[in-house]
């Protein structure tokens, strides 16, 4: 077993709903409804997750060990709900994906593709 964490690049790119779910958990643990709301707010309503599909995603991510159920509950605790947090692996996945996207964006900025027309 190597000490160095294995590269996770081969798992990229992430599906949009996975990326959004991970992003919503980046600031700390949330419950399902919280994730839905956070995604909606962050994307300005452009991206919506719906419960049946989202809990399926959460289950998958849990099985992958990218997120985990957590006991860290905020003060306004809803005790019937499960809270999810990023695992170390989940964090690495998220940052690798963001780095990948950054590279693409900076490449696009450098090329003519994204230059705004003079009279914009």
């Amino acid at each position: 077993m190597s000490d160095r964490p294995r590269s996770v690049d081969h798992l990229l790119p992430l599906k949009p709903k996975v990326l959004h779910t991970l992003l919503a958990l980046a600031d700390g643990p949330r419950h399902g409804y919280g994730i839905m709301q956070e995604v909606a707010v962050r994307s300005d309503g452009q991206v919506r997750l719906w419960p049946a599909a989202m809990y399926g995603t959460l289950r998958e991510l849990e099985e992958l060990d990218w997120i985990a159920e957590t006991d860290q509950r905020p003060s306004d605790d809803d005790e019937r709900r499960r809270y999810f947090a990023l695992t170390a692996l989940g964090k690495r996945m998220l940052s690798s994906e963001v780095r990948r996207l950054e590279a693409i964006v900076s490449h696009a900025r450098g090329s003519r593709a994204l230059r705004k027309p003079e009279r914009a």
Partner: protein, 888 residues
């Protein structure tokens, strides 16, 4: 800004949530904790949406339901996929069996769709009618109209927007790399207006371009430059160069200006048409030979018209009948008793092929039913095998709906897989079907894998899968629990067993119909092949020579040319004798002349005189082909232009004209080339079946070629060895006389004879193929049923054996069951045979649909196959060890 929405009924939200919950329970219900969370979240989303107004609430609710459905369906599909992958044998068998059946049916559907169902590629095709002359008293109901009458119709009718007629002529096209036969269609004014098709390139003929154009064969141009419009196919074979429009091509010894190219789907009269040229009937029938203008008693043209808008076919027919009656009154000698008949073009085109196509489609659909029945049988067996698993799952709390849903998902997956296999196979088979089908099926070139064909395949795959997989699995998933959980008890009830028996009986029944059909067609085909064509077809090589009319304008030149060609061929080693004739038996090349004749001294009489096929032949023609001379002599070199006019007639004509008395030495008047001329009969030859084994011999008159040196001839070579081996040398040898003259269509007489049986062979092979497939399917069906029954009755059999039944009596039990199935199936099939015999009658030759030999052979074959299929299960039953079978 939106006006504030009215407050929403709070009960509504509750009701919506209740509906949502019910669906959630239906579609998921896997982890109670997760379900509760989903439920809570949905409720919260709905609550917050309600604050934003009624439409936001509705949109949210719909989005929630959609989300649930997608997830639920995906789960079912995933589970179904897993269960299908776990049983690859079953899955593949189902997909392949059903896919084959569906593909076969779809292929036939594509053919029928293109040929029978799809509207014709012309504007308002329902207004197009084909015109025929019809003489009810003489029972000549559909005769191609005569030039004189068509001309009259075109000028004087008040029923049609446009009326056109045409005649196809075999012509020779000469290019840089040799010559090729092409079919030219000479069309009268209004042709492109009737069909209302614009050319792909260039233009069609202007009205004044029709005037003064004689026929292609006349070699004249009416003083104008010859023009033509190319078919798409001929244009393609000439290199598909758009610049060809405006250029000339060399046909029949002349240069023709290409005015345009028609689209690929324009095929009038059929796909064989190479080009169309304008034709002026009055110009073609002018001069001293035709003092009355275009003849009215040679009925051979084809005519199509476009019915006036707002005029029914009935009304148009009545108007045309009035006109025909007027013409008949004006020209009683030629037209008495003749009227006109209108047939919608769509019907006309498929009249000839409809029976065959529907017959074949019926056969294929029968096969698909067999296959679906067998798959159903398999599915029932599988359900039986899984009954315990299902029952246990059910007992452990899996919802009944969940099991049903998974079964539906499984059916859907099977249907999808079947459709994929079917579409792939259809794409493959369409190409070969077109290659193997008789070339004279109209509109065959329009067959393609299009949206309607693919939709048909998908729909049929769904139907077949529902029959084969869906229905058998749906029944009694809950009813079997109790019995399934009882150890060793039979899991399938009376009902399923009865259904399986009915299926096998149905399979045997359909197979009987297919087998009888194949047997009848095979016997009919064998009879056709045994028909004596009237001459010796072996060791005959034929080739067609179409010299330029410009190079050989006169009689002397033509006679001389052919004499040299025949002489040069005689020099070849292996050649026994050589001769030439205008129309060869079995050949589709060359045009017959139907001309009136009468016996000297009797006169033409008040009615139209009888007609005979008139052919020109060189000396030695009958000896070369092997048509026996019954009386008199063969043509000789002395029968030339200067000597007395002579003819040879066949037995049919001798019978018709002289009541069987020997006509040698008598004189016959032949109305040929404008004026009736007396000719002495010098010989009588035996009848030959000129148009293939199915055709009856017709009256024939032969004229020495030297006395009427026709330009385009078929040369026939009697060889001492294999004629096919001589083909290349013979062609080269004929070209040595004049390398510029086209020699083509080199083939053997046996091949020509074979080609006339093309349709019969096609029908026979097709039905035989399906009968074979049906037989295999029925055999597997019988096997599956018996094997299943034996397995199911294992304990019962064991008990019987324990109390003294012998192995052979147990085996007999199984065999008796299979025999019962076979007998009942034969009876069912017999009813089916009686049903389709009417349809089969029309394509059978020399045999009735109730041919006892075929019926008995079919029954024996079927019994043998069923017995063979029951052998394995019977042996298995006989080998049951009572001790181990009764142990639980």
């Amino acid at each position: 800004m939106k006006p504030p929405s009215p407050p929403v009924d709070p009960a509504r939200g509750t009701r919506a949530i209740r509906a949502y919950n019910r669906m959630l329970w239906w579609l998921r219900g896997r982890d109670p904790r997760e379900s509760r969370e989903i439920e809570d979240d949905a409720e919260r989303l709905l609550d917050s949406a309600r604050a934003r107004g009624r439409s936001a609430w509705a949109a949210t609710w719909l989005a929630l339901l959609w989300d649930l459905m997608i997830v639920g369906t995906a789960q079912d599909l995933a589970r179904a996929l897993r269960s299908l992958v776990r049983a690859p044998g079953f899955t593949l068998t189902v997909a392949l069996l059903l896919g084959l059946g569906v593909a076969a049916t779809t292929t036939l559907f594509a053919l029928v769709n293109a040929v029978v169902l799809k509207p014709l590629p012309y504007a308002e095709p329902e207004r197009l009618v084909m015109l025929w002359e019809s003489n009810v008293p003489q029972k000549r109901l559909l005769e191609g109209p005569s030039p004189g009458n068509v001309d009259d119709w075109a000028t004087n009718n008040d029923a049609f927007e446009a009326l056109t007629s045409w005649w196809t002529v075999a012509a020779t096209l000469r290019g840089r790399d040799g010559s090729a036969p092409v079919t030219g269609v000479q069309v009268t004014k209004g042709f492109f207006e009737v069909f209302r098709r614009a050319p792909l390139l260039g233009r069609t003929f202007a009205d004044d371009e029709y005037i003064g154009r004689p026929s292609i064969a006349s070699g004249l141009t009416g003083g104008q430059e010859p023009v033509l419009v190319l078919s798409h196919r001929l244009w393609q074979s000439l290199g598909a160069d758009p610049a060809l429009v405006g250029e000339t091509i060399y046909v029949e010894g002349r240069n023709w200006r290409v005015l345009g190219v028609m689209p690929a789907d324009f095929a009038v009269p059929d796909t064989g048409a190479g080009f169309w040229t304008p034709w002026d009937i009055r110009e073609a029938y002018r001069g001293p030979r035709f003092p009355d203008g275009p003849p009215r008693d040679f009925r051979f043209l084809r005519a199509v018209a476009r019915v006036k808008r707002n005029l029914s076919h009935q009304a148009a027919a009545e108007r045309m009948e009035t006109l025909a009656a007027r013409i008949a009154a004006d020209h009683p000698r030629t037209n008495a008793g003749w009227s006109v008949r209108l047939v919608p073009l769509g019907e006309e085109l498929v009249r000839s092929s409809r029976t065959e196509l529907l017959l074949v489609l019926g056969a294929v659909f029968g096969l698909l039913l067999l296959v679906a029945a067998n798959v159903a049988s398999l599915a029932i067996a599988r359900r039986t095998a899984r009954a315990r698993e299902t029952a246990i799952r059910f007992a452990l709390g899996a919802g009944g709906t969940r099991i049903v849903r998974e079964h539906l998902a499984e059916t859907a997956l099977c249907a999808g897989l079947t459709a994929l296999v079917a579409i792939a196979l259809t794409a493959l088979s369409l190409g070969s079907a077109i290659a193997f089908a008789p070339s004279d099926i109209p509109r065959l070139h329009e067959v393609e894998l299009n949206v309607s064909v693919v939709s048909f395949a998908i729909a049929l795959a769904l139907l077949a899968t529902i029959i084969g997989v869906g229905l058998p699995g749906l029944r009694g998933s809950s009813t079997v629990i109790a019995s399934a959980l009882k150890d060793g008890a039979p899991v399938s009830g009376q009902h399923a067993s009865r259904v399986r028996h009915a299926l096998v009986v149905a399979e045997i029944g359909v197979t009987v119909v297919l087998l009888v059909g194949a047997g009848l067609l095979a016997r009919s085909f064998a009879r056709l092949q045994r028909v004596d064509p009237g001459f010796d077809v072996r060791n005959l090589l034929v080739l067609r020579i179409a010299p330029d009319v410009t190079r050989y304008p006169g009689a002397e030149l033509r006679t001389h040319y052919y004499a040299r060609v025949l002489d040069s061929l005689r020099e070849l080693p292996g050649v026994a004798s050589v001769a030439a004739v205008t129309v060869l038996p079995m050949s589709t090349i060359g045009s017959d002349f139907y001309r009136p004749y009468w016996v000297e001294g009797e006169g033409p009489g008040p009615n139209a005189p009888p007609v005979a096929d008139v052919r020109m032949a060189t000396p030695g023609y009958f000896g070369t082909t092997g048509i026996p001379i019954v009386s008199g002599r063969e043509f000789s070199a002395q029968d030339g232009l200067g000597s007395p006019l002579v003819v040879i007639v066949n037995e049919s004509l001798a019978r018709a004209a002289w009541n069987g008395a020997d006509p040698v030495g008598r004189t016959l008047i032949l109305d040929y080339q404008g004026t009736p001329s007396s000719r002495q009969v010098v010989g009588v030859v035996r009848d030959a079946r000129y148009k293939g084994p199915r055709s009856a011999p017709a009256p024939e008159i032969f004229i020495p070629h030297a006395q009427n040196p026709y330009l385009v001839m078929n040369v026939v070579v009697r060889t001492r060895t294999d004629p096919g081996a001589l083909a290349r040398t013979a062609r080269a040898q004929a070209l040595t006389v004049d390398p510029d003259q086209p020699v083509h269509s080199v083939t053997t007489m046996e091949r020509l004879l074979d080609d006339t049986l093309q349709q019969d062979r096609f029908a026979m092979l097709f039905v035989a193929l399906f009968a074979g497939a049906g037989l295999v399917t029925a055999a597997t069906g019988v096997y599956a049923l018996l094997a299943f029954t034996v397995a199911q009755r294992r304990r019962e059999i064991a008990v019987r054996m324990a109390i003294g039944a012998s192995s052979s009596s147990v085996a007999r039990l199984v065999v008796m069951e299979s025999l019962t199935l076979a007998v009942v199936g034969c009876v069912v099939g017999g009813v089916g045979v009686a049903g389709v015999s009417q349809l089969a009658q029309s394509i059978l030759f020399g045999i009735t649909p109730h041919d006892p030999l075929t019926l008995v052979t079919t029954a024996i074959l079927l019994l043998a196959v069923v017995l063979a299929a029951s052998w394995l299960p019977a042996r298995r039953a006989a080998r049951i060890n009572p001790v181990s079978a009764m142990r639980i």
